[in-house]
């Protein structure tokens, strides 16, 4: 056990070391929606040489935490979110107050970029006309409405809960929370009548959605700004001066159009962002043309997938292999220990079983307060997920060794260590290896969720694709992940052939 703790400590140390190693390069974070991706790309382009993006952090809490611990130096944020979610203020705060409160935390904000991306409740045009819906206060009369909300809106204090309270919407029972991109798809298919959106969402145009008037002024103002670390701004004064040129230049209509270009126009975020900046003279036009000028619509799935494998494959493999190795190192001794006494066995199996019942995303977020975002918490969560099948199968494999064999091993006078290595473990090998195989396959799948907390891997294209509602981008992450699971399966079949002793393989029978 102590060895395991040491390894985890080293990992945590190395991940924080990695953050500190290159003080010059700036890292821009983004949340998991188009506008955030685009604003982050614009920041990367303006900050210049060496700046990079950590894409698709799974929500405000994770993005803010990544900023606090220095995994990212800045990310696009909204004033309403800053007041409500980060500073936990009951009222919307003025810019000056925001700046002062954030300043005491070592953080700063730019001036508003120019548009207000407020929350909006949206319904398809025909639904609006049929029911005569104009204002949010009209909703109370229609409890039959099928409502599909994004997870974040559903949970935030300033989102659905406040709306229900202020407008008295308790009567609306048919409310589901789902991925934002899927909620729009559900509206498009006629499977839902109402969702939450933002005033700059491209989908409003695409699906012909109408905004309901916030007649009681419940939604706070959501002016877009960049939230950044003051120390990063001090280290890179020139880069930040370039970033500030964006202030006040981007209106809501332009932002909605840019979102549309990225989501339906088939252009990469990077290209849309750079084209906009150069059109306004913020960066030289020559920067736009380059490797980023790909047009996604004209590319075959095969091409997209090959790039995805190159870009995300190594990280995904790293996540799976390292967490699996740790789970094997810890899980086999735990499984062995569990066979030694009944109390210890129940304790160990109970504990690893309990871990397995925690939803994977919750487990991923669980370690953020300890290790921040990125690799270390993802490895820790994947490690814990891998434990159950390994511990349980080690335990079962050892327990099912027939009593006469255990007795004759003892009767021979072989020391415990020799009995374990030469007799018990080889006999438990088929079950044990099956457990490791299960853990590996689970790991490949669960590792796709690690992208939510900025650890990368195939979850990243899956997240981007979900947001864009672009099945090709989703598949460019999902197919390689499934392929990796198959490859790992095959590797273990081979390993089984090498490690499982001949005499206990099923095909050998009395001749």
């Amino acid at each position: 056990m102590s060895r395991l703790v040491l390894i985890l400590a080293l990992l945590a140390a190395s991940s924080s070391g990695a953050r500190a190693e290159d003080p010059r390069s700036l890292r821009v974070g983004s949340k998991r929606f188009t506008e955030s991706y685009l604003l982050a790309e614009m920041a990367v382009a303006l900050l210049g040489e060496g700046a990079s993006q950590l894409q698709g952090l799974g929500g405000t809490a994770i993005a803010y935490r990544a900023l606090e611990e220095g995994s990212v130096d800045l990310y696009p944020e909204y004033t309403g979110t800053l007041s409500e979610e980060i500073l936990r203020s009951a009222q919307p705060l003025e810019l000056g107050t925001l700046r002062a409160s954030l300043g005491s935390r070592g953080l700063g904000i730019t001036a508003p970029l120019g548009f207000d991306n407020s929350y909006a409740l949206v319904v398809p045009g025909p639904v609006q006309e049929r029911l005569g819906l104009k204002r949010i206060s009209d909703l109370g009369r229609h409890p039959e409405l099928r409502i599909a909300l994004s997870h974040e809106f559903f949970g935030r204090r300033d989102g659905w809960p406040r709306l229900v309270e202020s407008y008295g919407l308790e009567g609306l029972a048919n409310v589901r929370a789902m991925d934002h991109g899927l909620a729009y798809a559900a509206i498009g298919e006629g499977a839902a009548d109402l969702t939450d959106g933002y005033s700059t969402d491209a989908q409003l145009v695409r699906y012909g959605l109408r905004t309901l008037e916030d007649d009681r002024r419940v939604f706070p103002v959501y002016q877009a700004v960049f939230l950044y670390r003051l120390d990063a701004a001090r280290r890179h004064p020139e880069a930040f001066a370039r970033l500030l040129r964006m202030e006040g230049r981007l209106d809501a209509a332009t932002m909605a159009r840019l979102n549309g270009q990225a989501e339906q126009g088939g252009q990469s975020f990077e290209r849309v962002a750079r084209a906009h900046l150069s059109a306004h003279g913020l960066i030289p036009a020559s920067v736009v043309a380059g490797p980023a000028s790909d047009s996604r619509t004209s590319e075959s799935l095969w091409t997209v997938m090959r790039r995805s494998v190159r870009q995300y494959g190594p990280r995904h493999l790293l996540l799976v292999v390292v967490s699996l190795a740790l789970a094997v190192i810890a899980g086999i001794p735990l499984g062995i220990a569990a066979t030694r006494s009944r109390v210890l066995g129940q304790l160990v199996l109970g504990a690893v079983g309990l871990i397995q019942t925690i939803p994977s995303l919750a487990l991923l977020c669980f370690f953020i307060p300890i290790w921040g975002t990125g690799l270390a918490p993802s490895l820790a969560a994947l490690f814990l997920y891998g434990l159950l099948p390994i511990v349980r199968n080690t335990f079962v494999g050892l327990k099912q060794i027939p009593a006469p064999i255990q007795e004759s091993a003892r009767a021979l006078g072989l020391p415990g260590r020799v009995r374990l290595w030469r007799i018990y473990l080889p006999l438990a090998a088929p079950t044990l290896i099956a457990g490791v195989k299960t853990a590996a396959v689970i790991g490949v799948g669960t590792a796709t969720l690690a992208a939510f907390i900025g650890a990368g891997g195939f979850g990243q294209p899956i997240g981007v694709g979900l947001n864009l509602n672009d099945s090709r981008v989703i598949l460019s992450g999902a197919i390689p992940a499934a392929g990796l699971a198959l490859v790992i399966q095959a590797v273990f079949e081979l390993l089984e052939r090498l490690l499982v002793p001949q005499g206990v393989r099923p095909r050998i029978r009395h001749d």
């Binding site: 006469p404 091993a409 009767a411 021979l412 007799i423 080889p426 006999l427 001949q502 050998i508």
Partner: protein, 256 residues
């Protein structure tokens, strides 16, 4: 030599073995017999430290049994279980070689000893490279016996070594066992539930019931002078197998 003094064992409120004394001189063989659950297997396991008694002491193969000596004791005592207890992932030869190789014997010495024991236990050479699942029941018991004899122990403990075998194979092995015991002069403690086998393989028989030794003596003594109504009853119940064995037992005694 085996000496058990005031050894007892309880499983919760169930008495597996009453306070028991048992002495067996070197080179002698004793068959423990009795109905299921009479404590004969428990007694055998206590003698090798596989079961820890609640009280009493065990001296076996020249050592007093304790946590410190148990490994050494097991190297001086060979044991054969009902179905052989062979390790299924090792070939017959590997099963036999496991312990001596662990103790640092050279491969040549192991091979030499294996050859010798192959002849002694009448195991066909080609069986050595087979896995236990590929061997017949009789061959498995011969391999188990080879494994028990590898370090040339002074004492052999056998727990119903032949009861899983069909009658013809069993008769052959009984004769081989008797020949080996006599030839090597081992001290043998054998558990069986079969009176004929007990009489054939044991110089003496100890009949047990409910954790106690009711009577110990030669087969004839148990038959002719039962010390307890249960002894008479047990022997009567096995009578169908008994008469043909009486002569074999006496011939065995002559040979001994």
């Amino acid at each position: 030599m085996i000496q058990l003094s005031e050894v007892s064992k309880w499983y919760g409120s169930i008495r597996a073995l009453a306070s028991t004394d048992l002495m067996l001189d070197s080179g002698r063989s004793l068959a423990l017999i009795g109905p299921s659950g009479c404590g004969k297997s428990t007694l055998l396991r206590i003698a090798l430290g596989l079961v820890t008694p609640d009280s009493g002491r065990v001296v076996i193969a020249g050592l007093e049994l304790s946590a410190r000596t148990v490994e050494a004791v097991r190297h001086r005592v060979g044991m054969v279980l009902q179905d052989g207890g062979l390790f299924p992932h090792l070939t017959a030869a590997q099963n036999v070689a496991l312990l001596p190789l662990h103790l640092g014997w050279s491969r040549e010495k192991v091979a030499e000893r294996t050859e010798l024991l192959c002849d002694l236990t009448a195991l066909p050479r080609e069986s050595l490279d087979r896995y236990p699942l590929q061997l017949s029941g009789g061959q498995r018991q011969r391999v188990a016996l080879m494994r028990a004899l590898m370090l040339d122990p002074g004492v052999l403990l056998l727990d119903e070594p032949l009861s899983a075998l069909d009658p013809i194979v069993r008769a052959g092995l009984q004769e081989d066992l008797q020949r080996i015991f006599t030839m090597l002069g081992k001290t043998v403690l054998l558990v069986t539930h079969d009176m004929a086998e007990a009489a054939f393989l044991g110089n003496e028989i100890a009949l047990m019931r409910a954790g106690e030794i009711l009577q110990r003596g030669s087969a004839e003594a148990l038959l002719e002078r039962p010390a307890d109504p249960f002894v008479a009853q047990f022997i009567r119940a096995q009578r169908s197998a008994w008469p043909p064995v009486a002569s074999a037992a006496s011939s065995g005694a002559e040979a001994g």
